[in-house]
């Protein structure tokens, strides 16, 4: 069971209202992953949004680029809220990782019930998309011999 207090301390959710955090806590789950495990694969149906609690995740994009996420509060799996609802990168654990998991379907239900919450959440998602766009869209660079 995830508490509202835990979520309030997460950077990603810092400016959300108490009632919204309470709703989010109701659909959140703690998940643990071992070093080397893959949380999701690029191209797979995106079912959940994750918030990083502890550990390091490496986002590997199909063009060969990658981006390590280390700080607490990073969100991964924004594709669960954006069409065509397929992950755009593969998320691999570089260490033992603990995450908050939010079902994409449940998040949509909350967005439909509360437009302001939806706006706040989608603004955050847009920021993340913009940050990662360079990695995602960048053309493959081939310097290697293999």
């Amino acid at each position: 069971m995830v508490s509202t207090r835990e979520l309030r301390e997460t950077e990603f959710l810092r400016d959300f209202h108490e009632s919204e955090l309470s709703d989010l806590a109701g659909i959140a789950a703690h998940t643990r992953w071992k070093e080397g495990e893959t949380i999701f694969h690029a191209g797979a149906p995106a079912a959940a949004l994750y918030l990083l609690r502890v550990g390091t995740i490496l986002l590997c994009f199909p063009n060969g680029r990658s981006m390590p996420l280390r700080d607490e509060g990073h969100a991964v799996g924004w594709s669960s809220l954006v069409s065509p609802f397929r992950y755009t990168a593969t998320a691999v654990c570089l260490s033992d990782v603990r995450l908050y998991e939010f079902s994409g379907r449940e998040l949509y239900r909350l967005i439909q019930m509360n437009a302001l919450f939806g706006q706040r959440l989608m603004q955050k998602i847009a920021q993340i998309m913009e940050q990662r766009d360079r990695y995602r869209r960048g053309t493959p660079v081939s310097f290697g011999r293999d």
């Binding site: 080397g36 390091t56 590997c60 260490s95 053309t139 660079v141």
Partner: protein, 163 residues
């Protein structure tokens, strides 16, 4: 004639010791090759530059110019940040180097992890995380953002506790 006399008469002792010497010499040579296999492979990977150096040796100076001695202090050498690692991580770094020599720089971390896993390296993800945290492997910039290189200004040294 039977027994030891027969062996001596037919040079049996000489043949026996010669055979033993041949077998053991072969084993010693084989062990030396196996022990240095990593170096041979590293040389094989660098064969292009080595051959290029052999074909185009650096030009010799036509004559030496004696520079006047001055009392000026020597220019400071470029400082490298020393990163202390335990022996097992140094070995993993060497292994990563062999892989990235093949991949070329800048390299993809996903490819590095894939190759390291295929080579049976233990916990490559954890080691990569450490190298990234310590700035031993750094992200490239510009249109190569998302690809990585070995930091030039970092020198890996063995932890003093292990020396």
């Amino acid at each position: 004639m039977y027994g030891l006399k027969a062996i001596s008469a037919a040079n049996g002792w000489t043949i026996t010791f010669t055979g033993l010497a041949i077998v053991f010499t072969g084993l010693v040579v084989l062990a030396a090759i196996m022990a240095n296999m990593e170096r041979f492979l590293a040389l094989w990977d660098r064969r292009g530059e080595l051959l290029a150096g052999f074909k185009h040796p650096p030009r010799k100076q036509p004559f030496l110019v004696q520079e006047p001695r001055t009392d000026r202090p020597e220019a400071p050498t470029t400082d490298k940040t020393r990163v202390h690692l335990p022996l097992d991580q140094i070995e993993v770094a060497d292994h990563f180097h062999l892989i990235t020599n093949r991949l070329g720089e800048p390299f993809s971390l996903a490819q590095l992890l894939e190759k390291a896993s295929k080579h049976g390296l233990s916990s490559p993800h954890r080691h990569l995380d450490t190298f990234l945290k310590l700035g031993i492997i750094v992200e490239d910039s510009g249109d190569r953002q998302g690809f990585y290189t070995w930091a030039n200004d970092v020198e890996i040294v063995r932890s003093s506790a292990e020396e």
